[in-house]
Structures are given as structure tokens and as C-alpha cells.
């Protein structure tokens, strides 16, 4: 057996460079803050911008690198080849990494005004954002569940701290506490799941799962343990992407956390977790007879509950919190359709629908939170719907952008959100899930009502005292602009983009 062992693959630095760049940027930013405390905000921002640009450059420079697995024993056993590297550097991973880098980039540029207005700590904010992004990037490329877990923890812990960044604000503290406690709980589930998978397959690499099932006569006990582990891992993911009924932290945390953090959290953690989830599911295809029904049910209740509760909200951040739950439900529909289609002849649905929707989701969510962050003033977050009244007059550009983002989230044509939903709808119908597609459509109708509430609020004239809006700074302006451009650009170039995503 030993003779069949191959040498570990050499370390592919070129594929790891983006990660290293982002991590280093975080360290450098922290060092700068330590050396010149409180006088170096601009420097830190610029360091982050340069670092992220470099990371993005690294991804793009190695764009055409063939997909490769790195770090790890590739070895064979009697039954065939098992295992693989810890990381898988493929197109999907690159795209998710780029999305995360872009998320961090935009967060860095639009948060400055907000942090200044709310007098929050710069020194912690930027490094933590960097490391969170790094955690997400690790999740997006890893093939090993333990690495996924580490990435998840890096991302999560950074986000716990970020959520509680506003020391004076009770809501922020509550948010951090709840996020942390429930998050730790979820990480726990995940870890238990991983250990069970290890127990069943003898490896923490996802490649072990198909290997287990491809045996001629898989050990029934091992199979059962694998099922249990898969279930627990799903629960862990369900927490992170906020699927009902594991969603309950979302609105409280979204509302309590500082708005810039909420935006980053909503975009980055969902993208990273979905990326890791779909990879895990891809490896667990052999167990799909169990997880497809579970995910289908979760998708239906997630969309429905998220949308219905959102209707009753009065705080824009909370509305967006529930909206992000509903959006997770839509993505789950895409995943279910993808999984169903895998077993069907003449039908191939790749990751591209999910990837497309994740990109669109990131852009519109981040944009919406960027606009919301401009409503913050010294005293309060200013995200109640009433606080947005009069935005149209005071800050016409962000208000107009807000309408675009809401339209996209609601799936109004011709925005990116619309096409994202359309692809999901198509996939679902193609995978013989017409009823699920119809539920998705009905939910989109419901969601229009609450997105519209935000639009109406920005267009309305204030009744009593007008809320003061922080002057729109360059970063915010740029973020809104880039997000809006992004939403339309992906529509104009849908086909190239999709073939690229599928590539």
C-alpha cells in the first residue's frame, strides 16, 4: 500500500498569493495603527486599498492557471484513489475570492466617513475586515473540511468583534453577543459534523465522501455516521447563511451591528459560506437523496418566512436583514436545482447560477448598506424608515442609487437581481421543480412590498425634524457608483459572464 503513495504536490505559491496579500495587508494595517495610533487613518485606508488591489491582481494574473489541488497527500488505497489537496484552486474559487476582495475593498472605501461620524475605532476595523475576507477566501478554496472550519472561524471571530465595535451602543453589544453565542454554537455543530465525517471516511477531505460511497460495499455504519455528520455540517452552514429556522440571529445582529459592518457581514459571510456549502454538497452528491429534500424544505420556509416577517418591519437594516434571509432561500433554490439536475440526463447546470446570484447579491446588498450608512449621525444609526425621509432632497445621488439597489433586490428588470432570479427560475423549471419555481415567483411578489417601503421612505418628505445626513464623501459616492455600474454591467454582459463563471 505504501508503494502507491504519491509525493505531496509542491506548494503552488501563485495560487496562494492572494490569501497572503490580504493577510499581510491586515497585519501591516494593524502595525501602522500600533506605531502611530490615532493619526494614521488615511494611511491605513490606503494600505488596505493597495493590498486588496494587489490581491485582486494576483488572482487575475493567474486567471488561466489550470485548476489544481494543493497541499496534501494524494494517495491511493486498495479501492482506488482517495483524497486530494487541502485547497482547490479553480475558476469558481477564483471568482468567489475576487468577490470577497471586492467586498472588502468597497467596505474599506465607504466605511471611512461612517467610522468618523460615529467615532469608531479605525485601528481595529481595517485589519479585522482584512482577516475576515481572508477567512472567507480560505473557505471558498478549501477542499478540506478542517480548513473550511478554520476559515469559517477566522471569518466569524473577526465579525464578532466587528459587530461589537460600537462600544457605547447597547444594540451593538447585544448584536455581538448574540452573533457570537449562536455563531459559536453553529461552529460547534460544524466541528462535530466534521469529526463524524472523519469517523466515517477516515479523512477530513471532502474527497473522502465520494470515495466512501464509491466502494462496492460501503460499510453501513460508516455510511450512517457520514449521514449524521453531513446533517450537522449542514446545520452549521445553515446558521452561517441564515436559513430558517437557523436564521434568528440575523435581524438582531444586522440591526445592532454598525451599518458598515452589517454590509460587509451580509455580503462576505454569505458568499463565503455558500461557496463552501456548494463545494461540500458537490462532494456529498452520494447522499443527495437525504439532503435534497431537506434543503428543498429549508428553501421554501426560508424564502417565505424571511419575506413575510420583513413586511412587518420598521427599521431599514432589519428589513435588509430579513431580505438577506429570503435571498439565501433563493440561492438555496438554485442549489437544489443544480443538485437535482446532476442526476438527470441531457442537463448540466453548473455553479454558474449560484455564482452569478452571489455576485449580484453582493453588489446590491453592499450598495444598499453603503447608502444606509450615510444616514448615520453621531447619536444614532439612523436606519429607521422615518430617518430616511427626505433623503431624496438632501442626498439625491445615494437616494437614487438606493432605488436601484432595492429594485435589484426585488428582482425588477433589467437589473442584475432580476437576471439572477431568472436564472434560478430557469434552472428550477429545467430540473422539474416547477412548483418550487412558482413559490420563488410568489415570494418575489411579496418582497416587492417591503423593498418599496424603503424606496418610499427615501422619496418622502420628512414630517417633523429632518435627519441630518453626513456629507456624502468620495468613498461612499464611489461605492454606490461602482455597485450600480456593477448591477447594470453584469446585465449587459450576461453571456460572457456566465460562460466565464461556468468555465
Amino acid at each position: 500500500m505504501n508503494s502507491a503513495l504519491a509525493q505531496p504536490a509542491p506548494i503552488p505559491w501563485e495560487a496562494l498569493l492572494p490569501l497572503i496579500a490580504v493577510a499581510t495587508t491586515g497585519v501591516v494595517a494593524m502595525l501602522i495603527e500600533m506605531i502611530w495610533p490615532r493619526r494614521s487613518n488615511d494611511v491605513i485606508v490606503w494600505v488596505c486599498i493597495v493590498g486588496l488591489a494587489a490581491a485582486a491582481g494576483c488572482v487575475v494574473y493567474h486567471w488561466n492557471l489550470p485548476a489544481l489541488e494543493s497541499f496534501g497527500p494524494r494517495f491511493d488505497n486498495a479501492q482506488g484513489s482517495v483524497g486530494g489537496g487541502l485547497f482547490l484552486h479553480d475558476r469558481f474559487g477564483q471568482i468567489i475570492q475576487l468577490t470577497l476582495i471586492a467586498t472588502a475593498f468597497l467596505t474599506v472605501i465607504f466605511s471611512e466617513g461612517y467610522l468618523r461620524e460615529k467615532r469608531l475605532a479605525f485601528g481595529e476595523f481595517y485589519p479585522l475586515v482584512m482577516w475576515a475576507a481572508m477567512g472567507g477566501m480560505i473557505m471558498a478554496t478549501s477542499r478540506d473540511l478542517l480548513i473550511v472550519f478554520l476559515g469559517l472561524e477566522t471569518l466569524s471571530i473577526a465579525l464578532y468583534v466587528l459587530a461589537g465595535l460600537s462600544q457605547k451602543d447597547k444594540r451593538s453589544q447585544e448584536s455581538a453577543l448574540k452573533y457570537f453565542l449562536l455563531g459559536a454554537f453553529a461552529s460547534g455543530f460544524m466541528l462535530y459534523g466534521i469529526s463524524l465525517i472523519y469517523g466515517a471516511t477516515g479523512t477530513t477531505n471532502v474527497a473522502g465522501i465520494p470515495a466512501l460511497f464509491s466502494l462496492e460495499l460501503p460499510d453501513p455504519t460508516a455510511v450512517n455516521v457520514a449521514y449524521a455528520g453531513m446533517g450537522l455540517i449542514l446545520v452549521g452552514f445553515a446558521f452561517k447563511v441564515a436559513l430558517v429556522p437557523f436564521h434568528m440571529w440575523t435581524p438582531d445582529v444586522y440591526q445592532g451591528a454598525p451599518t458598515v459592518v452589517t454590509g460587509f457581514m451580509a455580503a462576505a459571510s454569505k458568499v463565503a459560506a455558500f461557496a463552501a456549502l456548494i463545494r461540500f454538497l458537490d462532494a456529498s452528491m452520494a447522499m443527495k437523496d437525504v439532503w435534497i429534500p431537506i434543503l428543498t424544505v429549508l428553501a421554501v420556509i426560508t424564502m417565505t418566512v424571511g419575506n413575510l416577517i420583513a413586511l412587518a418591519q420598521k427599521d431599514a437594516k432589519r428589513i435588509l436583514g430579513y431580505s438577506s434571509i429570503a435571498q439565501a432561500g433563493y440561492i438555496l433554490v438554485a442549489i437544489v436545482a443544480w443538485a437535482k439536475a446532476k442526476g438527470m440526463p441531457n442537463l448540466t447546470i453548473g455553479y454558474e447560477t449560484v455564482a452569478f446570484y452571489l455576485i449580484a447579491y453582493t453588489v446590491m446588498t453592499l450598495g444598499a448598506f453603503a447608502v444606509l450608512s450615510s444616514a448615520a449621525s453621531k447619536g444614532k444609526e439612523g436606519t429607521l424608515l422615518e430617518d430616511l425621509y427626505g433623503m431624496w432632497r438632501r442626498a439625491p445621488f445615494p437616494a437614487a442609487m438606493m432605488i436601484v439597489f432595492m429594485a435589484s433586490l426585488a428582482g425588477v428588470p433589467p437589473t442584475g437581481g432580476f437576471f439572477g432570479k431568472l436564472f434560478i427560475f430557469f434552472d428550477a423549471v429545467n430540473a422539474n421543480l416547477v412548483w418550487l419555481a412558482l413559490i420563488l415567483a410568489v415570494n418575489s411578489v411579496i418582497s416587492v412590498a417591503y423593498y418599496l417601503k424603503i424606496v418610499q421612505a427615501t422619496l418622502r418628505d420628512p414630517e417633523v425634524h429632518p435627519t441630518k445626513f453626513a456629507p456624502v464623501n468620495v468613498g461612499l459616492f464611489a461605492t454606490c457608483f461602482l455597485c450600480a455600474i456593477g448591477l447594470f454591467a453584469i446585465v449587459l454582459f450576461i453571456d460572457p459572464l456566465k460562460s466565464w463563471l461556468g468555465g
Partner: protein, 115 residues
């Protein structure tokens, strides 16, 4: 011993869940710590228990002598213990902060509700 182990782990989980459902944050954190112990033991048990023989290569051998404890889950648990500690330290400091800001350790009073 396998049955006893299973029972102990079950008991630890039960205790952990019960503690986590209390209103006091401190109890919740203790519950999380219990959860951590339970899980470490779970991983340990799932990888089969082998008495006394650690996976150490003796002088002159090139591999540990069977039966020896599976080293891989041990590495896993080691990671889990350390991370668990990080999380626990963080959580302890966090509750202190929350207590200072909010003035209570009763979770029911720390809530912003809908509506």
C-alpha cells in the same frame, strides 16, 4: 467501555444544552464550555478507543506498534481545544463588556424586538 463512554458523552451534551437554555449569560458560556468537552470526547470516541498506547514511534522502529491510538483525531482535538479556548476567552471578555454596557447578565433583558 464503549457504552459507558457513550453515556458520559450523552450526559455532557445534555448538561451543556440545559445550561445553554438558562437565562444567565455565564451559564450559557459554561454550557458552551461543556459542549466543547463533550465534542472533544465525541471525536475521541468515534476514532475508537485504544488504552494507553500513544502513536509514538519507538527507537528503532519506523512506525508505531499496533494497537496504537489514532493520531489524526488527536490532532483534530488539539486544534479544537485551542480554538475552543480562544473562543472561550473571547466570550468571557465579551460578557464582561456586555455586562458593563447593559448592566445585567440576564439574557432576557438583552433583546431588541421586532415590531
Amino acid at each position: 467501555m464503549q457504552v459507558v463512554f457513550a453515556a458520559i458523552i450523552g450526559m455532557l451534551y445534555a448538561g451543556a444544552v440545559y445550561m445553554m437554555l438558562r437565562r444567565s449569560i455565564v451559564k450559557l458560556i459554561i454550557g458552551l464550555a461543556l459542549f466543547g468537552h463533550a465534542t472533544n470526547l465525541l471525536i475521541f470516541a468515534v476514532a475508537r478507543l485504544v488504552r494507553y498506547n500513544p502513536a509514538i514511534v519507538q527507537k528503532g522502529d519506523s512506525a508505531p506498534i499496533e494497537p496504537f491510538a489514532d493520531p489524526v483525531p488527536q490532532a483534530l482535538i488539539l486544534t479544537a481545544i485551542v480554538i475552543g479556548f480562544g473562543v472561550q476567552a473571547f466570550s468571557i471578555v465579551l460578557i464582561k463588556r456586555v455586562y458593563q454596557t447593559v448592566g445585567t447578565d440576564d439574557l432576557d433583558q438583552i433583546r431588541g424586538t421586532d415590531s
